[in-house]
Symmetry: C2
Subunit: 250 residues, 2 copies
């Protein structure tokens, strides 16, 4: 992921109030490898110990830059986005986070720098800040409860930036599913033992009962190892209670 | 959005430690209209004043239910997802948030109830909790900085649940773009006034200079009102300094 870090959008916090929120923004930006945090006129000055605590060691906070004005903070950006849930009387495209991140991806690939701005906690963006933006990002919040925490808005958009990258490396791939031959071996084994035990009664219902049993395993996802486990379980059951352990020690 | 609230996944916090995180989860669930929060064995008991403070009035916290065991909490769910960034030696499908939410949407439409589980802050999910899940959700975090805050993980997935819904209602639609006739009127007006002012020099470059000017406005997005504003600006400029105000008062 490191090779794409310079290719991420810039996040700009406009007049943030709580150090806790600044730190939480830096932490979640680090989680999703968005490196460039710019802070405009933080209410409680800078540095801010509460921000450091909440950043949980994120290098994004260490490298954050503080500016007195928004103009200075975004001078090198080619396109700006404002985030707000509050409609304004302004002619401006309105995008979901997904749409905006798609557009930013294209712009960055073309060598441009894109900035995503976040307004202050209580008041949100000023109209002057929004006017500067090429578009507004508005998240699909419940109109009955729109008050999204500042760091949460950063987090949602930070994840949205990476959301198309798929799952992280390091997970063992799913084991190969059992072949149809292995499954048929299981079905035959189960059928034979159940038949021996008198399970299929009345006899004319045998085909339907067999089909229902097969259906349980046929839905997919049973692996070769799991077929072996199931066949071991059938074998143990046929030997009767208390004898399985002896068999498994053979 | 209210009519789909019952159609959202259930979020289950397994052994959460900090009331602040429980409250922040409830708040962001409320933001994205996910109503059903279940809390399994919260470390600091229940109710928890820190949770109430951070929930910022979210009804999700008021309606949250507390259980002693995960078994009780998820007994009515038909499919469970565990969230973790830490690979385990377990045979289990691994999905992005987007993939999982797509699958859950289909399951809910089919009348099933889906639960998304979140592990404790420090340790994450136990292997026993993960084993119960149909699949693991793993977010595309930077392998160098995987420590995602519990509430942030809830928030990212809560947003992912709604992310396809588009922008909220209430924004004025973009004003209609100017017609090509209006734009051509602007181009002609601008060309005539610049020609009168001696802008096109040398004369043989006039076509190229005109083309370059047109290009600035042809990229799209200029509205009818903006065409009128630009034509007013041209008119004002041709009248010379200080006279525009008088004209506008006419």
């Amino acid at each position: 992921m490191v090779d794409t870090m310079d290719q991420a959008p810039v996040f700009i916090l406009c007049r943030p109030q709580l150090g806790e929120n600044i730190g939480a923004c830096a932490r979640v930006m680090g989680n999703f490898a968005i490196a460039d945090l710019r802070i405009v006129a933080p209410r409680d000055g800078w540095p801010n110990p509460a921000a450091e605590t909440m950043a949980a060691g994120s290098a994004v906070l260490t490298n954050a830059r503080v500016f007195e004005t928004l103009e200075e903070a975004v001078a090198d950006c080619h396109m700006l986005y404002a985030t707000t849930g509050t409609p304004r009387h302004m002619i401006k495209p309105v995008m979901t986070g997904r749409e905006a991140m798609g557009e930013i991806r294209g712009a960055l690939a073309g060598g441009r720098r894109a900035g995503v701005m976040f307004g202050a906690e209580k008041s949100g963006h000023s109209n002057e800040e929004i006017a500067r933006a090429r578009a507004v990002i508005s998240l699909p919040v419940d109109p009955e409860f729109t008050s999204l925490n500042l760091a949460m808005a950063c987090g949602v958009l930070a994840h949205e930036w990476r959301a198309d990258e798929g799952v992280p490396q390091g997970w063992s791939p799913m084991e190969a599913p059992a072949s149809q031959g292995e499954l048929d071996g299981l079905y035959g084994h189960l059928h034979d033992e159940l038949d021996r035990a008198g399970f299929f009664y009345p006899p004319e219902k045998t085909p339907l009962m067999t089909q229902n049993l097969i259906n349980i395993f046929a839905r997919g996802g049973v692996t070769s190892q799991e077929v072996r486990t199931l066949r071991g379980a059938i074998k143990a059951l046929t030997l009767g209670r208390g004898k399985a352990r002896i068999v498994r020690e053979d």
